[in-house]
Symmetry: C2
Subunit: 269 residues, 2 copies
Amino acid sequence: MTATHPFDSAIALQPQGEGGWQGRTHPAYANMIGPYGGITAAQVLNAVLRHPDRLGEPLALTINYAAAVADGDFELRPRAARTNRSTQHWTVDMVQAGQVVVTATVVTAVRRDTWGGHEAAMPPVPRPLDTPRTPRQGVEWLHRYEMRFLEGRIPAKWEGQTSAGSLTRLWLRDDPPRPLDFASLAAMADIFFPRVWLRRATFVPIGTVSMTVYFHADAVQLAAAGTGFLLAQAQGQGFAGGFFDHTGQLWDEAGALLATTHQVVYYRE
Amino acid sequence: MTATHPFDSAIALQPQGEGGWQGRTHPAYANMIGPYGGITAAQVLNAVLRHPDRLGEPLALTINYAAAVADGDFELRPRAARTNRSTQHWTVDMVQAGQVVVTATVVTAVRRDTWGGHEAAMPPVPRPLDTPRTPRQGVEWLHRYEMRFLEGRIPAKWEGQTSAGSLTRLWLRDDPPRPLDFASLAAMADIFFPRVWLRRATFVPIGTVSMTVYFHADAVQLAAAGTGFLLAQAQGQGFAGGFFDHTGQLWDEAGALLATTHQVVYYRE
């Protein structure tokens, strides 16, 4: 008997008719309040991935966290707003108790054989197995990932000292390991603890407002990454008025760029 | 008599009932086929800005260009999917002849007085008035902006030589000058000619698929920028399978970060 990976259990959806799905939050990915935002992104993407009308593979995902997702059931309502020859434009609402808790747009596309050459090169870093695993404690979802921080780890002392930079680099994979796919890559794009904590060494309440992921690999390339580590990198840009953003990249062990990602995050004080 | 600025004419909307709007493409912002994508973004944002139920100011905009916008009338259908105490989540469809041509999400928010400190610093560059204006020829919308390129200008010779980098920096403002606001800032976020042209010095057909803008300033700060120049910077990240992305920033002359932006673009061959 093969046990189902908790990630697959967490993104499982039941068809509801008219292209809609029902899902349920999973305790293995619980955050401080409600679920880890990355697992919500994976659930939203899965509503499109599993849709019978889907054309091509994910190219772009924007997810807006409109309200806290409550533990329990949710509905996903994907709509193919426009289907072209090689691209398809989706909107997705996540609904709980009749209220929208997430809005999202997804673009899927048929990739073609073209000139290519990634410009965002993986920085020179030690290999994952030469980097010790970083112990992470706290909320449940942290235990679903193996993290090996290289730079910009979460402050050891919360002494309120401001730092100029918020660059974080870590090696990352599912724990237990699971072959990479679009859903798990979308989830990993939200792996970064809030940059404002790194800048300030102050534990202020935060919440991601909106995240965008651009996918730069096809399913074959993701499968080739297998259960290997990804190098995940993020750095903050603007911090003012209760909101900051970061920009980030994810590479496979061989150095291939798999995704770029950005998010804007609410913070208090 | 004061003449209306072409930008204001281009983003003008007529109420249609139920929160919907009618607009019309404007010849002053014509691109090769249909309108400049930046003016479409400004029109979409304006549908939210002018909505009587709007809470706060723009924080995040994602616009997906689902199909070519045809010259002529369009409808904008904004929906306040969720309204919280200090944030509001909008979806917007642009429709022509009963077909969705654009999907978008907009987050508006009430900014608060918090700790702040932008991390994405303006690079050291010559002042705009010490930088000669760059002649731009071709499609009509190019004449609506004064551009003073510092780095990464459009290839003078299309000789198909591949370059490793696609960093562009330019000073930018409306022509004729117009005081900066959220709508014009959204439009300027799409100012960058396609990075793939810079990398390859080859004129391949392209089209923006999705653009996200995060706003890092409030209306008072935008008003303070007035009719001054903005420094606009962008650099490509991933290029493969017929799609590339770039990440960019816009600062005012004083060096304040006003917006960060990302987009993913289709290219042929």
